[in-house]
Assembly symmetry: C2
Homo-oligomer: 350 residues x 2
């Protein structure tokens, strides 16, 4: 709980909005040439020579995160990552972000500072400038709204709508770990509530918990594809779960798809945790969400270029729209792919 | 109250996030050449030939607005305006916005639609494209976060830091009306609570209430200045009150300023309402806020070009920083200008 971690508690009213902003933005460095003016005017000023991609995400306490097990620094980091992931999913290079927060009076200046430590760390690691935002009071809890801006040549931007019949469907990394990390954290929270003396033994789940609390965005994948001279025909990031994103690609591109259960990349710790929780690992990969991996299509002609790359797995291929969307199970059965992704308005799914 | 106005109440869960977005964005038109891709991908894509200005503001129910007297359509409109005002304050042309909202389950689809009616109306009137956003659940109330993007040649962007010693300080429109509108609305709300049969008589206050509920941004002022061939040396918008914004300009530009009480432009209805509420109209103009007028400085050489323009009033001039910031009262007294602007963390001011 944040209350335990901050021996010093300076009320935000003591500094006021402008004092708080000064406090947060001291020693803030601008690294990108395209950032002309950062924080401190009515608006920031940037100049991208190529096209600009813009994406925005809002995270709400009690809906998207639970501060009883999410450290504020991790939350700040993750809030940036989920936005950068969308920029990389356009095959673009992330350059700038703005960060707005609303906080209730239970958050002292030190808590806001901790949150921004995470924001700034993500900016540093991903080479992104923090150029603006807003800081305001809320009547209940913490809300974070981030906008990320990236740059890319018009003709190299990867949309959802570019899939061609016959293209191969490729996914980066592995799936399901973030969701299983959340299950572990929820279980430990319940155990802790029952018996606060109990020290959780979570060492075996480090990978899962890290994927949930401190995910990374795949900045490396657009870079890798450029190096391999592969131009993705379409791309999307895996925030809501594989099945939901496949449906987005198919609808936007007016194609069908078949994917193969045996091809879905799973980390062994995900398989173990699924057994422990009595969950089907394929279902988790299909509907778990929050993996922040990239899902994209390439022309079959590019297969040789990506073949064997440990970061990339071909899991299926595109078909005419009339063929529909299917998963071929290990047993050879064809199952229709339905949206089972997470929906903030209805936690049990649609 | 919104509950009374919407006989039809479709729960948001019924549509889900994607259904809601489809619902809101149907018939959405893109008008600007620089908007390449709007809503519907991981990110929007724009291409500004000149520099891009970016600004963002977050409005929180119970902090920035009270839905017991603010119609949702007006709220949507105003949320866009406060952002566009920041773009115009950079002497830029507003081109695109993103709109993110978090809503609790007390808001049906019809309420969200009403809010977006206001957003879309502002977009239409100001020639701005709605290109993206996020829609999520909240645990309590309504939160709106908007980011606005504008375009301008680097060398024509007006920053806060450009004021030169001797420059004239100019304000558009008149001041204090939005604040007095809020006083009227708060009074009528209290009267209504006491006696719900009582029909409020607010006709005499139409201008004040409009300035509070449906403010406009001064898109026309940068256009006018271009036409008059006047390049503002610095500019800021009046969101927090005249005194607070003068301090921002002086600090950023390292200058002092003197303004004259008798020059401050006030509408007669503001003077009347101040008398009625037993408030000093100069204090209201200095600290009221939410006027969304533009405050800027010009070289003395440009005075002849703006002289006599009914939209513009010279209220003072810049001095060396050592002279400090002062108001010269009607009685000839010099009073130091202090920040009395509104602060969301402390409604009684700093």
């Amino acid at each position: 709980m944040i209350e335990d971690k901050n021996p010093q508690r300076t009320p935000v009213e003591q500094l006021g909005e402008f004092g708080l902003i000064d406090h947060i933005t001291q020693n803030l460095e601008i690294g990108n040439e395209s950032t002309l003016t950062g924080i401190g005017d009515d608006a920031a000023v940037i100049h991208h020579n190529e096209a600009t991609v813009i994406t925005t995400d809002m995270l709400v306490e009690g809906v998207h995160f639970d501060l009883s097990y999410v450290p504020l620094k991790h939350l700040g980091y993750k809030a940036v990552i989920v936005n950068l992931s969308d920029v990389y999913a356009m095959n673009a290079v992330a350059k700038q972000i703005t960060v707005s927060i609303a906080i209730s009076n239970r958050f002292p200046v030190e808590a806001v500072q901790e949150l921004y430590e995470g924001v700034k760390l993500a900016c540093k690691i991903y080479g992104v400038d923090l150029i603006g935002g807003d800081t305001t009071a809320s009547t209940s809890g913490l809300i974070i709204s981030i906008t990320a801006l990236g740059e890319q040549k018009k003709e190299d931007i990867a949309k959802r709508s570019g899939v061609q019949d016959g293209d191969l469907l490729v996914v980066s990394g592995d799936l399901g770990a973030a969701y299983m990390g959340l299950q572990i954290l929820e279980r430990e929270k319940a155990v802790f509530k029952e018996n606060p003396q109990n020290q959780p033994d979570i060492e075996a789940y480090t990978y899962l918990i890290e994927r949930q609390l401190k995910p990374e965005a795949r900045k490396d994948i657009p870079e890798l594809l450029r190096k391999l001279d592969v131009k993705p025909t379409a791309m999307i990031d895996l925030s809501d779960g594989l099945s939901s994103e496949i449906i987005h690609l198919c609808k936007s591109s007016e194609v069908g798809m078949t994917i193969y259960e045996e091809k879905i990349p799973l980390d062994p710790t995900v398989i173990n945790a699924c057994e422990e929780f009595n969950l089907d690992s394929t279902t988790i990969a299909l509907s778990g969400g929050e993996d922040y991996e990239l899902l994209f299509t390439i022309s079959q002609n590019d297969y040789e270029k990506i073949k064997g790359n440990p970061n990339l797995t071909v899991i299926g291929h595109a078909l005419p729209a009339s063929s529909g969307m299917h998963l071929v199970t290990r047993g050879g059965e064809q199952v229709e792919i339905k949206a089972l992704g997470w929906n903030s308005f209805n936690e049990t799914g649609e």
